[in-house]
Symmetry: C2
């Protein structure tokens, strides 16, 4: 009994190997409950071990409850109603999911990565690595002060948002993350009104946090403020810079209507989701509602993942005073989700003007690209006849209406055969008109040299 | 009328400056509603501008809704019920909150940072910077495959968790973050049972996600499984490796009791919070409940922020198959919150064995430190008489019971005078016994050379 081959132990200490062998026998039932184990001395002799080694193993089994002792009688196997699971084989390694390599994926919303100033970013990261405190500074729940200062400066210098205090800024690992925190301080049980421009990820986050989302019709001025009165919404989610996928900036009278709605009750708030607002091709640039808000009703939300690289997860929000206090009371126990090192590197990148310079180049690139694409569409023999592009001046996408009798399923399969991929636009309440479909064209990722071929293929999808 | 000083425009284009001036006059009411603006030609003459410049400014004002046109009559000021907020001055910059420099802060739970192999970590980060795909790889919602593979290997090689597939691992920016996602897939409206060892941050996260938390009494074997039956809990939150602040590992019979409870209903789950489990000073090391679970009932949760540096926000969880599917269906739309660059660097750090080597050194350091501290307490003329330390073998803290008639408030003020800071231990249901107080002593941050002085001061707090 208890005859173990100790040569199998490898690097495991003797006592530990012995402990494992006995434990395994107990777990498998090879050693039945209440069996008396051999005395320490006896087992030591049997296995040619020191008594101390056996004692350590026995004590361990006792302390973990696999074995019990009876005074002056020795060690016994505990009665355990338990079978340990079989030791599993090592499962295979994971691989990054391989994406099909489309000739053109109109769902991809990001600029070609060679437009990103990788070397400048690497420079900032290298400096951050060398700066000891980038790793060790304890960061406030709001995020690193240096990054909040850099963002506040940038908002003042380049977005017309002069009054933002760095103390109002909260940094988090992505807009979705910050939205979850917002749902915690505003909800649960509230209703958020969002534009009816297809299913929204934010609606899902709201639902997962116990709140409701209602879709509001849109017109040419953005979401219809007059429809709010028929809902129980206390929060409205707006993209005044450009309403996806229309790319329209909201005019002042509509903005005023939302301000009036929000000002009418203390529990009402406007979430200004400024995603993609950096890319305004119109002459005036974008005016944020935050900067037009006289009554501290606007929560400003933006991301740096869209303008930098998508795998960098840094977003921020600017909270009005009252919500900042509520945030502090309710959810400031959450540690800031962005590593201080990356905040440090990004603060350098912004402070030194690299960020604005990069944005400026991107905007220039997108403006040229967009013009070339619209021109191509106008001159494409097929698309010029059947396609209309909404005349917009913002964002890295546009809506294309195509007059066709093909079904969406037919179109998708013809597109796939030509290695093209896109989404159709499906607002919840606005039914598609017969004889036409609406495509969302993200143009950010299109390589300029491929434009003719891309739209020749797109035209061919609808031919015949 | 409309007499603007165009020399004030700085770098702003002329049309844009003119637009801003008129807009400001409209916003302030200097230009009343329905006022007719001068014709383009007239204003161009007045201000010595080209007609084109004026037209661009007017068109912009029209498109934004500040001005309207009447056919063949010209441009008029819109009627807007709105006063723009005054442009605010730049608020002051933020500074990192300055912490008082305590002689000893027993609340600080982290090792002195000079124990962290900064140069090896910097090496991995530098390599990650050079590897182009570290920045550009699109990461699965679960996290970077390379990091999930490295973690699965580490669990198998060093934690006895051989069966974990990298596909079961979900990476997130901190344990709090992952806990929130868990609350979304398990809740809302559930009850989670946690050990009654003082207020828990997880209880707050559960409440913020619409679920309840109930505190369960503990005994020397960890949380009492027999008390679960009296609750409506469907999820139990356990720290089997060491129950804060007792530092006791849970014996097998109690583990079995929890498994039996969980196996009795399909909606029941065990969250194994393995925080601090790397630091087990006992001979056997820590056995995770995850590896003992034969019925896929355990959600394993751990953080790398505790063993690396606290400002690196990377935690992970291992989900049983059924919950993995639910996670995928419900919350996999959330983008992974950790930047791919940091995941890449950490994968290198683990793969190359730096992580295990660092852990080994830390464990050795803590073991020595702990022994020296316990020895010091035994030889301190005051503490040796009045203080008892729970005899535990895990974790970077211990519980110290001090027999004293001083009130907690008195103790705190005397401690502050000696530049010491600590928490008292306040379980919810376990009332303190008269004539004693319980201190939580985090020893991770104590500098070995300071041990005599630290405990001399602590002893003096309780003296006469």
């Amino acid at each position: 009994m208890l005859n173990y081959d100790l040569t199998q132990r490898g690097n495991t200490p003797l006592y530990r190997f012995l402990y494992s062998c006995i434990r395994k026998d107990i777990e498998t039932g090879a050693l039945a409950a209440d069996t008396r184990l051999p005395s320490k001395r006896r087992l030591a002799e049997d296995l040619n071990l020191s008594v101390n080694t056996v004692m350590t193993a026995y004590d361990l089994l006792v302390s973990e409850g696999f074995v019990y002792t009876r005074e002056k009688k020795g060690y016994y196997v505990s009665r355990l109603n338990y079978r340990a699971p079989k030791k599993k084989a090592r499962p295979p390694k994971a691989a990054e999911p391989e994406e099909r390599n489309w000739f053109m994926d109109f769902r991809a919303g990001h600029a070609p990565l060679d437009l990103f100033p990788t070397s400048l970013w690497a420079k900032c990261m290298r400096e951050a690595i060398s700066a000891a405190d980038s790793l060790y500074t304890t960061v406030s729940w709001k995020g690193l002060a240096a990054l909040r200062n850099a963002i506040a400066e940038d908002l003042a210098d380049h977005r017309g948002m002069t009054g933002v205090s760095p103390e109002q800024i909260v940094i988090g690992a992505g807009t979705e993350y910050l939205y979850g925190r917002l749902m915690e301080i505003l909800g649960p049980g509230i209703t958020i009104a969002g534009a009816d421009t297809g299913p929204s990820k934010f609606a899902q986050i709201a639902a997962n946090h116990g709140s409701r989302w209602c879709y509001i019709p849109v017109d040419e001025k953005n979401m219809r403020a007059d429809c709010l009165a028929q809902t129980s919404a206390s929060v409205v989610h707006l993209s005044p810079a450009n309403l996806f996928p229309y790319g329209r900036s909201m005019p002042i009278d509509r903005r005023i209507a939302f301000f009036e709605w929000a000002n009418a009750a203390p529990s009402r708030w406007i979430i200004e989701d400024n995603y993609d607002a950096e890319f305004c091709f119109g002459p005036a640039g974008h005016r944020s509602m935050f900067s037009e808000d006289a009554h501290e009703k606007v929560i400003y939300l933006n991301t740096l993942s869209k303008t930098m690289v998508p795998t960098l997860r840094i977003s921020f929000m600017v909270l009005p005073e009252a919500l900042l206090r509520r945030y502090e009371e309710t959810v400031s126990f959450y540690t800031c989700t962005v590593s201080s090192f990356e905040q440090y590197a990004l603060a350098l990148f912004i402070e030194r003007g690299y960020y604005e310079r990069h944005l400026f180049r991107l905007l220039h690139h997108y403006r040229k690209l967009r013009a070339a694409i619209l021109d191509e569409i106008q001159h494409n023999p097929i698309l010029s006849r059947i396609a209309e592009v909404a005349d917009t001046d913002a964002g890295t996408h546009f809506l294309m209406t195509v007059h066709t009798d093909l079904s969406e399923a037919e179109i998708l399969s013809r597109a796939e055969a030509r290695s093209l991929r896109f989404h159709f636009f499906h607002p919840k309440y606005q039914k598609p008109r017969p004889g036409e479909v609406q495509l969302i064209i993200n143009f950010a990722a299109i390589d300029e040299s491929r434009i003719p071929e891309v739209f020749a293929r797109l035209g061919a999808v609808f031919e015949g």
